[in-house]
């Protein structure tokens, strides 16, 4: 059956694309002009030459590089940890027989709907007791494995690993962990990559919890962005130069891995 799209379809998609780009372009535009230009009646349509100046001012105004380092460290560690533990548990749920497997898996799925964000107050009290408030431990440890990750890897591994392969490894005398390492891990690679990406993104963009546990002197990127706009007078050239700069790493990630992200969402790598 032919469902060849006409100009209307391409036109609408193009309009949508422009709408997607417009706020980013606007951010860069404002970030590349000096303040004076922006108070004119008609806003400029082309970038000015002050982006680097403004970006430098933003970098000086907040602990920018420290924030970048923190965000990279936290997001990278959390994503790697989530992938490891989720693959391990997903493998067990998909391919190993043990008493209570089904109820435990149903429990995992049920916790998907639990808004754990609302446990912030006790979590904060616990972190304070542990002396982790203000440190990256407070961000890393609570995120080390997720219900979504476990379920996602389980769904993938159920079909990705033939049961015979697991049997064969067992007959050869492999321990379960060894079986996991040499059978499940290679098979899990595509899904693991997608899970890593989405976990990295979610951790990188998180705002609520870092705002609660981190001090101004040791922020993540999102918290640094918030600091840029504090004060009564907002210098938008500086703020949006900072916002643009902070978006660049994710844009790069998107250009490199966008295809996998699309595939991941369409396969059900979804978590609102």
């Amino acid at each position: 059956m032919t469902r060849r799209p006409g100009f209307l379809v391409y036109g609408l998609l193009t309009a949508f694309l422009l709408g997607s780009c417009a706020p980013l372009y606007w951010s860069f535009l404002v970030g590349s002009h000096s303040r004076e230009v922006l108070t004119k009646r008609v806003p400029p349509l082309l970038p000015g030459g002050h982006f680097l100046d403004n970006a430098q001012r933003a970098i000086d105004a907040v602990p920018f590089w420290k924030a970048m380092g923190n965000s990279l460290l936290v997001s990278g560690t959390v994503a790697t940890s989530v992938v490891f533990f989720s693959t391990l548990a997903g493998f067990a749920f998909a391919k190993l027989a043990f008493r209570g497997r089904t109820p435990l898996l149903v429990f995992v799925v049920a916790t998907l709907a639990v808004p754990t964000q609302l446990g912030v107050i006790p979590l904060f009290i616990v972190m304070a007791k542990l002396g982790w408030v203000g440190s990256m431990w407070a961000l890393i440890v609570p995120g080390m494995v997720t219900a979504f990750g476990v379920f996602f890897m389980r769904q993938y591994l159920v079909d990705a690993i033939p049961d015979e392969l697991v049997e064969a490894a067992r007959v050869d005398g492999c321990s379960l962990f060894r079986t996991f390492w040499s059978v499940a891990v290679p098979a899990a690679r595509p899904a693991a990559g997608i899970l890593w990406l989405f976990t990295f993104m979610a951790t990188w963009t998180d705002f609520f919890w870092p705002l609660i546990v981190l001090p101004a002197s040791n922020p993540t990127v999102q918290i640094a962005l918030q600091q840029l706009q504090s004060g009564y007078y907002v210098d938008y050239s500086l703020v949006l130069a900072g916002a643009t700069l902070a978006t660049v790493p994710l844009l790069v990630l998107f250009v490199v891995t966008g295809r996998q992200m699309v595939a991941g969402i369409m396969q059900g790598a979804v978590k609102g």
């Binding site: 609302l118 609660i212 998107f254």
Partner: protein, 341 residues
């Protein structure tokens, strides 16, 4: 982890070459292989639990325990700095329910949520319909709708806070350019909700469109063919075949965005500099209200009461979610597939 990794060393390392058909079984070998068998037995029984335990331990620690403990904190006087005080029964709940800012935040949350979820789902459906055609450069178009998703909510909020600026904002400049009155986006309640909802819509519409697209591609193509034979046009097919057939996915997206939408924080928090939801809290959401009580007023008891109330609201929706997906059959056969060892 411990049991798992020791098991690897003892069984994995020697297991391969010395299989049951190994040469010359002397008594030491027999003893060792009995030992090995017992280890392997233990491995089979225990390791699966070890593999799944990190999730359960962590969930207990940072999910279950905090939610329970929130209830405990909520029935005490509890200062951010002073810590646990007197048992106060339901007093915190009473104070929350008597606070007009609680009801204000509840109203705002639902208003922003409705303004973001309904247009978002409708536009995402249309967009998915556009993508579900034989496009040239299909990969490019799919990627293009995902672009906003990679911009962090904090950055989105800063950008939109400027675009919707009351004075030099882009939207108001355009409105004035075409001879309309500027809108006070940061002052008027409904206007501020529209501005904040537009941030959510901008970031999530394309993402949801891809989920819908995946569902649409599972619709058998011959259904369309027979509809086309019956003379149904493209739009008619979309409305009366595609959308009904992906209804479970629509419900799924609707309810997951409810769970997220009711906890909205970064966008309204960063919409202005003060971060309290406007001069009269006209766009303060429940999560912001919780944050203000806990970390501004420093009353963790009252903040916990809010957390619990919000939790109950969200769980109500989550139960609906479960019922909907049960009916949609997405949980069917869970755990029944793949039972090797």
């Amino acid at each position: 982890m411990e049991a798992g990794s020791t098991a690897v060393k003892s069984v994995g390392d020697v297991g391969g070459p010395t299989s049951p058909t190994g040469p010359r079984p002397d008594s030491a070998d027999v003893r060792r292989s009995a030992w090995r068998r017992r280890l392997s037995r233990l491995d089979t029984v225990v390791s699966p639990y070890v593999f799944v335990s990190p999730f359960f331990l962590l969930f207990l620690l940072v999910g279950m325990f905090p939610l329970g403990y929130t209830a405990w904190v909520s029935v005490h006087q509890w200062g951010l700095l002073s810590g646990q005080g007197e048992f106060s029964g339901l007093d915190n709940y009473r104070r929350v329910l008597e606070d007009r800012y609680f009801w204000n935040a509840l109203r705002n949350t639902f208003s922003i949520f409705l303004l973001s979820s309904i247009p978002q789902v409708l536009i995402a459906l249309g967009l998915a319909g556009l993508l579900d055609t034989q496009l040239r450069f299909r990969g490019f178009w799919r990627m293009s709708v995902l672009l906003p998703f990679v911009v962090a909510p904090a950055a989105v909020a800063l950008i939109f806070g400027n675009v919707f600026g009351d004075r030099y904002g882009l939207v108001n400049e355009i409105l004035q350019g075409i001879g309309l009155e500027p809108i006070r986006w940061h002052v008027d309640t409904l206007a501020s909700h529209v501005a904040i909802a537009s941030m959510v819509n901008w970031r999530w519409t394309g993402y949801n469109a891809l989920i819908f697209l995946a569902a649409m591609q599972a619709v058998p193509r011959d259904v369309y063919e027979s509809a086309a034979l019956d003379g149904a046009g493209r739009v008619r097919q979309f409305v009366s075949i595609t959308v009904p057939m992906i209804r479970p996915t629509v419900i799924f997206v609707g309810i997951t965005s409810t769970i997220g939408g009711l906890q909205i924080f970064a966008e309204p928090r960063l919409f202005d500099t003060a971060g309290l939801g406007g001069s009269d809290r006209q766009y303060q959401t429940l999560t912001m209200y919780l944050w203000e009580l806990g970390w501004r007023v420093r009353d963790l008891g009252m903040a916990s009461a809010v957390a619990w109330l919000l939790f109950l609201i969200i769980v109500t929706f989550a139960v609906l979610n479960l019922l909907a997906s049960r009916r949609a059959g997405s949980l069917k056969g869970l755990g029944r597939k793949g039972a090797a060892r």
